[in-house]
Symmetry: C2
Subunit: 137 residues, 2 copies
């Protein structure tokens, strides 16, 4: 019995075929950040007949359950990634679309300080650096 099923049960979700398949795709994809459409296409490619609406529903449920994280990089559609419980931020290459993850303790703590200075506690944050390959010229 695959380990993903445990997480589903723990989240109070029935272990159904669509949910298991979607979890598998998120786990096995070599691209870590996938849109609902990406997942949907991957399902079709794998010969699994799951509706796009279900993909959205399942991803949203996964998000509520803390299994995945949803990001809204610049405007367009949302992307989802498996939540490995290790917080990180993102760098998006504006030329290739590549997504690089990074974590910086200094920035993290500084954020807390800034919020605190204004009388707030941080509930969450979103930091995305839009970058381009360094010009060696």
């Amino acid at each position: 019995m695959p380990n993903g099923n445990l997480e589903l049960k723990k989240a109070g979700l029935k272990v159904t075929l669509p949910r298991v398949k979607i979890l598998e795709i998120l786990e096995s994809s070599d691209t870590r950040h996938l849109s609902a459409e990406d997942v949907y296409k991957a399902l079709l490619d794998a010969g699994d007949d799951v509706g796009l609406a279900t993909v959205y529903r399942v991803l949203t449920q996964f998000e509520s359950a803390g299994l995945v994280l949803r990001h809204n990089f610049e405007g367009a559609h949302a992307v989802f990634e498996l939540n490995d419980d290790e917080h990180h931020d993102h760098m998006v290459c504006t030329e290739t679309g590549d997504v690089i993850e990074f974590f910086d303790d200094f920035i993290e703590s500084r954020q807390k300080e800034v919020a605190s200075k204004h009388g707030y506690d941080i509930v969450g944050h979103s930091l995305v650096l839009y970058v381009k390959p360094k010009q060696s010229s």
Copy 2:
């Protein structure tokens, strides 16, 4: 002749009524961050008959011209703010919806370092802290 007109001309945009009105609304609003819909309603309230499509077009042109900045706070619609050429990031209160602007030199330079470490130059960045009032309890 209002000063905003200069900026329009400088941007190569004809000084039309919709554009002037929209600029005025952005300048005079006590809420600094407005959605297209907000601007549209403000126009109607002011008795100006401008189409929503025009609001979007104008705001997009303003963005291209560097007159305004567009932000995509959590999911929903985009919000626009006048570009005062002083970069800052945002804190959004999850309870009141308040938007607080802040700037932190250390975070800024640290971002550059992180990008550089990965072989990139920063083109832009988006940092939003989602916060809630500090519990004094």
